[in-house]
Subunit: 398 residues, 2 copies
Amino acid sequence: MIKSKLSLLPVLMVLFSLAYSQEALFGGQQIVSPQIQDDQSVTFRVFAPNADTIQVTGDFLPTVKVQTPYGEMDAPGKANLTKDSNGVWEYRTAPLGPELYKYTFIIDGITAVDHNNPFIMRDVASLFNIFIIDGAFADLYKVNDIPHGTVGKYWYDSPGLGMDRRLTVYTPPGYETSNMEYPVLYLLHGAGGDEEAWTDLGRAPQILDNLIAQGKAQPMIVVMPNGNVYQDAAPGHGKDGYYKPQFMAPGTMNGTYEENFMDVVHFVEGSFRVKADKAHRAVAGLSMGGFHSMHISRYFPNTFDYVGLFSAAIIPREGATAKVYQDIDGTLQAQMDNGLRLYWVGVGKSDFLYQANVEFRKKLDTMGMKYTYRESEGGHTWVNWRIYLSEFLPQLFR
Amino acid sequence: MIKSKLSLLPVLMVLFSLAYSQEALFGGQQIVSPQIQDDQSVTFRVFAPNADTIQVTGDFLPTVKVQTPYGEMDAPGKANLTKDSNGVWEYRTAPLGPELYKYTFIIDGITAVDHNNPFIMRDVASLFNIFIIDGAFADLYKVNDIPHGTVGKYWYDSPGLGMDRRLTVYTPPGYETSNMEYPVLYLLHGAGGDEEAWTDLGRAPQILDNLIAQGKAQPMIVVMPNGNVYQDAAPGHGKDGYYKPQFMAPGTMNGTYEENFMDVVHFVEGSFRVKADKAHRAVAGLSMGGFHSMHISRYFPNTFDYVGLFSAAIIPREGATAKVYQDIDGTLQAQMDNGLRLYWVGVGKSDFLYQANVEFRKKLDTMGMKYTYRESEGGHTWVNWRIYLSEFLPQLFR
């Protein structure tokens, strides 16, 4: 391709300085990992002549029961790689169904990402590699050759929380060049997440692009704020610099987020071309974000026509003294009386919050609140939250 | 903080399923790595009772000379970690000066990122961890408590290249709520890079936020396109899905990028509030992006008042037959005759492109073209490109 004096030597020198590593240059191996085979089995490889044991762990392997101080729990399964005479370790899975899968290696007891797969996601403080098996619903998670929306990281002023804060906004294809006004979905993350969670782990931009291109979802703006009230931004993107994120951030369920949520709405409605009325606002979230969505939507009971609770962490809470947590029944009743178009509740059969959702639905049933209920297989996982989002979006703004 | 029944057990169950890993839960170790000490030395740690050798390699260690098929070259240095009786390996550096540093571990011969540091960058297909030592120019690389611009990933239609393509745009603080029009810098990446390079490796958004807050740079829009003409987007973000990126992408220096560059300009000037004239356009780039900037700015010789060539890969090229590569002297002369405000050339003393830049400057001298020359220590590195950007930005749009 490159017929020029800018040829082998300087290019290799840069390559060398950029990518110097034993296995890349001196191991003589061009490792491909993961390799998705024609039968949709997947081969993992590591060049590691000196390692004693290498395992892969990922959500495509059957879970195993392990004993913990908190009782028996499911843990991700592991499989052993085997070493060939060249020092290359390998494991091939069974054929896999469509999904976005995650995995890491365990090399001599140490969790390590696959250095031959640069596609990494972070969940709280953990890193893992990902790959996608095509087909069915998983095609919604792919970047297809269709029009794409814009994903931006914006900062908004939150007078209520006393700081500038970062949030993610998806604007649909054509937003920049059209003059249309759009409806808005506020999409909230769970404990340990932040304003990066729904775009990265949740594949929300890909799901939206695909559903909009297929005519199955209305073009809409989707706002993904940060629900950790002590944070201005995701770890590494805010004023606290680089630190190891923790699962539960301080203050995330003390009411200040819900009570100040209109700071987000005001920024969005002042900065984007939106239809700023109840009929064109939705709020949904997963786990803690479902808890937030339930409380926000009844605390501002005439604001959102669409509500989505995905594996919501709706548990009766003692000692929750914030104003937003008072008079739950009365405000839910007011929300119902004001009318709304969709109250969507989804949970997995093996979710540890399953029973809490049963209790919550009893409350809704007792008061005569109409809702759509979706019970899925599986538990408290991104596998389910991507599916719930894919099913929820087509029901909005109709 | 959380006084509720949503307390220990379910939280731990989720934590467990999210973060299950031997060292986190069963090793009993809460490893902190890297730990920046008071004297700005840095301690790295790995919990790995079964490993035989662990090394750290990073740009804070002195380079070493290695023999390669292409002669003696500099390679990043390595240092050995030592194991304590608990199976925790450790190494402490000398005190380090301010910089954004990168590193990986080498565990029993295998390159591995530090699993206790979730902050990762990708360079071509390589992953590494990063940390920042505060002070001096490195404070420009930090997220400080100041107003922040927006970073968005947009898609534009390129009729010339026949596809929708992704690009990154930085809009300055206040863009959403002001009615101002802004000048535009087009900032181009090098070989192996893409539209993510300047935001991630280059820290461009942080450098801009900081320089604008200090009053040292004009508020401006910065457009970071993808210079690999066969790609619609960075690996993993485009229609080709997940694959292992390569250092030199096909077609990146065959002229089609430069000749169709106005597709980018037209999108930007049709989508953002910009001052759409020569006095308010700049183009700059590193390595291959410097090559692109040189060619684009003379091929459209009355378009950019500001040009920046950072370690530019300006090498006489045989067999470069594209129209953009014809009549270089004539078009440079036309560019000079049309007038421009700044032609900035920066290169490191040990850059393998140093001599090529000497030759190029001779050409500029011969034709009487005025330029600003910056010679730095060091070579073909992001350390230098971040510094060049920090010095270039304050000179724009004055």
